[in-house]
Subunit: 334 residues, 2 copies
DNA sequence: TTGTAAGCGTTATCAC
DNA sequence: GTGATAACGCTTACAA
């Protein structure tokens, strides 16, 4: 293939390698005629600079390592997309590895990235200990997205999930609901825990007790939404609203309700979390807490780029936005 | 950060660079004691091989370039995910660039990949001319996914979209539908054209004429599904079934129907294409033609890996599978 | 302004 | 078996 090197075009243009490099990078002024000759040869021979060699020489690889967890979750995938978008026109290309939500493979993945001498890191989610991250990354700029850290040890862009859970729940309470079921996310997942905490807080603030029978386990899957509603129904627990840990779970819950012929929002109100694309088009359109996933990814991309350039970047805590659609209504009068 | 090189550990282990390289790569037998010393030093100094340098020396970068189009389409994203999964344990890491469905940026994207000296290419969708691809790639192995080519010039993994469109339509015809509307995909998109061709073929085979009023333009978006149904309704066109170009469009169509209080599948049957995750949980669960997106991506990954290793790989044409759920029923008796 | 030469961290080719 | 030493393709002092 294209194995034409800087040397070849040097010869063709009757100049030295250095001169070629100079005109290609604009790193110094060269005589007009030589410049022209170089450019011409470059075009004629179809020269494509070898980024690998350039990286080795400069010590910068112009690539950003992105660690995803790849559970196929719409949310995380969207964040990753945001990173790709955010990196456009920065000159950096993203290289992806996935940790599969397992600490050891996460560490390996990060090491693989570092071995490739990425100039910066974007870590989406994950569970490796903070100090371990610090140690691994060394001086490579890193930003962590969609994960709350306990310390200020790293720049992060994450969402306030307790606030999100609080807003969702409060919205339903304001509509008049008193028996709001919650189908939680993965047990140990910080986001799930925080959203539940928001649910709790909203109840407390309203002076409402939480019936333990209304709290269902889940795992962010649609299936757990189905299971949650089925359980509620099987146990004949009274409820007029359901807060699902995320939209997928809400879709599952909605389907279970549909199967029993229970109308939404006529008989039961439903609220999700994330605002993934399909939420707009579900029937009824799903009221949900929007997480700005794509924007978070984009910001993260800009952040690493800035960090690499020696600029500073402050950790961001974004807030979810309640997206009012049609799955929430006052509880039935009965 | 970790700037310890092979040289450092050579010194620490009292051997030469070459020996270190040898034990690290197992490329030749070295004395037990030296081997041990090297390994020990490697661990102790926390040595991480510099992949960039290795790539330059070996002429292989151990990375696979993946060109996506990144329209945020569930289908293409899933293919990309499949590639990531398929590359696991192959030693190759994927690096992503996106062409945004524009020929010139596609070409640039591929060039960027080639400049990084990727060992292989996976091109997902896209519209660059085949001969241009050939010319660009040179001797770099490439496989094209989710795109039908006219010639045998490249290995491809794609779906038979006319067959898919045919199956979907025939299914509805078999259920007794005679007035099946279709909301097409993007006008010039080959997949859209093929699916429509399948729709036509099924009609022809059944001896059914196609009322032009039943053929709606679309663009694979949910909005175009809404618009399609709205138009049908506004023009008072009779129809008992809708074939949407993909699931997103079907979701849009379903919502438009819902808004008018038209029951699915009681009054109107609906069929989609893709079988994206949410199709299982829509209400009613959507009957659709499943495209094995993830599998296609995985296969593509294995294919490039094989190609790089000098093995052969035959182009694959997979067939969609009709996934029977609950959105199709016989037309109302009336 | 321009060329020479010394790296960048590995691997590969030699001799020994 | 093992160690010099020359690539790999590019950038970047350092001279001229």
């Amino acid at each position: 293939m294209n194995t034409v090197t800087i040397q070849d075009i040097a010869k063709a243009a009757n100049v030295s390698k250095s001169t070629v490099s100079r005109v290609l990078n604009g790193t110094a002024t060269v005589a007009e005629d030589k410049k022209k000759a170089v450019l011409e040869a470059t075009k004629r021979l179809g020269f494509q600079p070898n980024i690998v060699a350039r990286s080795l020489a400069k010590g910068r690889s112009m690539t950003i390592g992105v660690l995803t967890q790849l559970i196929g979750s719409p949310f995380y995938d969207t964040v990753a997309q945001g990173v790709i978008i955010g990196l456009r026109d920065t000159g950096y290309s993203p290289i992806f590895v996935d940790g599969q939500w397992q600490k050891n493979s996460e560490v390996e993945a990060i090491q693989a990235l570092l071995g490739r001498r990425v100039d910066g890191l974007v870590l989406i989610g994950g569970g490796v200990a903070e100090n371990e991250i610090t140690q691994l990354c060394g001086s490579t700029p890193a930003v962590i997205v969609a994960r709350k850290l306990n310390s200020e040890s790293h720049r992060t862009i994450h969402m306030d999930n307790v606030d999100g859970g609080y807003r969702a729940t409060r919205h339903m309470i304001e509509k008049g609901h008193q028996r709001i079921a919650i189908i939680k996310g993965l047990g140990h997942h910080p986001d799930a825990i925080d959203r539940f905490e928001g649910y709790r807080k909203a109840h407390q603030e309203a002076g409402l007790d939480i019936d333990p029978g209304l709290v269902l386990e889940g795992d962010f899957s649609a299936d757990s939404g189905v299971a949650g509603v089925d359980k509620l129904l099987a146990e004949k627990t009274l409820f007029t609203a359901v807060f699902a840990a995320n939209d997928m779970t809400a879709f599952g819950a909605r389907l279970a309700l549909y199967r029993k012929g229970i109308r939404v929002p006529g008989e039961v109100s439903l609220i999700g979390f994330d605002d993934q694309m399909e939420a707009t088009y579900s029937t009824p359109p799903l009221t949900t807490v929007r997480q700005p996933a794509r924007e978070m990814g984009q910001q993260a991309a800009h952040a690493v780029a800035a960090l690499i350039d020696g600029e500073e970047f402050e950790s961001q805590c974004v807030h979810g936005e309640l997206v009012l659609r049609e799955s929430v209504a006052p509880p039935p009068a009965d």
